[in-house]
């Protein structure tokens, strides 16, 4: 986290830094899901979306 903050430009706003940190977190979560098999197929995703839309 400190590395990300330090790499931001000097004129980075608080909002920009927070977005970058949130981005990092989401990417890491997605990659962790991918590495550990917590994924579903595109077809399964479509099926699950249909269940939400009832």
């Amino acid at each position: 986290m400190a590395e990300i903050i330090q790499e931001q430009p000097e004129d980075a706003t608080y909002g920009e830094i927070m977005r970058e940190l949130a981005f990092e977190r989401m990417v890491e979560r997605g990659l962790a899901d991918s590495r550990t098999g917590r994924v579903i197929s595109n077809e399964e995703m479509a099926r699950r979306i249909r269940t939400w839309q009832k």
Binding site: M26, V27, R29, L31, R38, N42, M45, I49, W52
Partner: protein, 130 residues
């Protein structure tokens, strides 16, 4: 042909998007979520110019490429392209095992309000052009 795999993170965010919008307008929620899904699906259609990648507002792409996150991602997992919507963020992962170059066009707007998106190639062989 590329393959789309949805991560738990992606599903969680997409469900949040749906539930948030559905509080006020269930029909709109269905439309938005279907639109996001369809956009992801279309990206794998070779009739859309092979693997030409149509995206939205790409302001975040260049900024993110300079970040520590981007540097890490570019060497993380060969053959994976991450796509992220930055409005109530959704994340899904595309596998493009044979793709060398991905072109990103900033003028292709998605037809709903989550128009701020970014893409990062998680492969040193991939190149994002704009």
């Amino acid at each position: 042909m590329a393959e789309i795999i949805w991560t738990d993170e992606a599903e969680r965010w997409l469900k949040d998007i749906h539930d948030y919008i559905a509080q006020d307008n269930p029909a709109a929620a269905d439309k938005v979520v279907s639109g996001i899904y369809q956009r992801a699906d279309n990206k794998c259609d070779p009739r859309r110019g092979g693997f030409l990648f149509n995206l939205f507002s790409c302001d975040q792409i260049m900024a993110s490429r300079k970040s520590a996150t981007a540097k890490k991602m570019f060497v993380a997992t060969p053959g994976v392209l991450l796509v992220q919507l930055l409005w109530r963020t959704s994340l899904w992962i595309h596998h493009y095992p044979n793709t060398r170059t991905i072109s990103v066009r900033s003028k292709d707007m998605i037809p709903f309000s989550c128009a701020n998106a970014s893409a990062l190639a998680v492969n040193p062989d991939l190149e994002i052009t704009q």
